[in-house]
Subunit: 309 residues, 2 copies
Amino acid sequence: MNAPGPLLVVGSVAYDDVETAYGKRENLLGGSATYFSVAASGFTAPRLVGVVGRDFGSGDKHIFDSHGVDTTGLVIDPSGDTFRWGGRYHADMNQRTTLYTHLNVFERFRPAIPETYADSEYVFLGNIDPDLQLDVLGKVRAPKFVAMDTMNFWIDGKRDAVLRVLSRVEAILLNDEEGSLLTGARTALGVGRGIQRLGPPIVVLKRGEHGALLFHHNDIFYVPAYPLEVVVDPTGAGDSFAGGFMGWLARSGDLTLDNLRRCMLAGSIMASFCVEGFGLSQLRDVGPDAIRRRYTDFEALTRCPSLNL
Amino acid sequence: MNAPGPLLVVGSVAYDDVETAYGKRENLLGGSATYFSVAASGFTAPRLVGVVGRDFGSGDKHIFDSHGVDTTGLVIDPSGDTFRWGGRYHADMNQRTTLYTHLNVFERFRPAIPETYADSEYVFLGNIDPDLQLDVLGKVRAPKFVAMDTMNFWIDGKRDAVLRVLSRVEAILLNDEEGSLLTGARTALGVGRGIQRLGPPIVVLKRGEHGALLFHHNDIFYVPAYPLEVVVDPTGAGDSFAGGFMGWLARSGDLTLDNLRRCMLAGSIMASFCVEGFGLSQLRDVGPDAIRRRYTDFEALTRCPSLNL
């Protein structure tokens, strides 16, 4: 029950231009695999598979290196620029407007798994084309625990492929709107049970500032978002959650419900650091003491005293 | 620290016409004071102050009587009809359209506090004109714990009066959008701390399907909404939460943080029964065993295992 193992993530690496109520930043290193791997690096040394373009900076490479992220699988495609996303958040941070999405080299991304990654045991299939997710899965020799993400674009456009991936993974982590689109259910419980019927015994519904729900066979665990006075930039929060969750899991190798609860807390903790600054500015400096302090805060935040009715 | 006492609620009694994805119902007994007092009756025998019109039915009076709700303070105004509200919920239940609001006799409502209510110790000032809330407060001899509700209409139109009530209560229970309007803050923590600075040491932010947050001096407690596969009719959920919270408080008389956590759980439990049926159809049949079972479920839902990092 307790066998830690190497963690692989495949997803996007991007440059983000972000505007929130607290300011505007350009050329932030971002993308789902970036936030995931930096968050996971709090617990383990993740292996990254992704692509960047000719504009990828050595300072940005250094961010991965200094966090112990293995970038053997990060391809530099000299034929174009890195994926670039621009977005503006509304005042309440719950809604955002995408200003532009330039896929650039990410459009031609065909994930190659280096031979040194083939023994990965924990695998996170980030939000990419479901056919590519299946392709990656076929190249990992003996995965112990595979989790996936997806988005509306794939659920609408390639539903059958999404369902094929779903039937082959242990877990899916996704936003609740995506969960509703996937199942047609109207409540979180309806969505969770609906997705479980499609295959994975473990479903994590991410709800932004409203926390996240874990469905594990018949059990449910709820973790709130860590209370913050100020949310500076929500970009990457969901990916940081996934990175914390999977990082903890790969480090512990423990698939019991109790430990999956810890994974949820680790996810919520990493997401909370993520949103406290633009891009990776806060997340990149998180150490074990800061994680432990927030864990203790969570215990106090949700502790139910015994009933005396 | 442990002195139970009588609970008073002032608010609306109404007839509701409601349409949700699960059907359409007319002439449902509703209103904030109705949901509050039926929920509170799970724990104590609340005293109700409100007004109904010449159309008020004896069957509806019986609902109060059979739940031990004291209706000495429920005035029957023969000059008009009972407050009537009509609403339609969208498919996802998070938004609703008000079809009509006929205040009827509620428009001229001036709460009179019967002499037998003057010794009330726990007081809930439901969502009425803040000047009337102050008036009620002046008529209760020695209240121990006063909580209030309010809404956007009063925050926008009578902000100064709302602030005067706020400065005289121990607690406010309100929706998070209303909290944002009151404080200008963008996060739940910002709203909670912002309202505390306006007076009350205890703030409860209600967030519908996303649960509720308690701010108690420097401490925070979070309770999720009870997971339900189907939400039939959300009408009255917030008032049922308030009724469960105050009912438990009045029954226990215990103002410690631990017991306020139990109040939050009692609130979330009563709200969960409320939304499982149209109007009072489920809430009216809730007994102590059903409450205990959901309390146990909440313990499992949020239990954090010890950290082994």
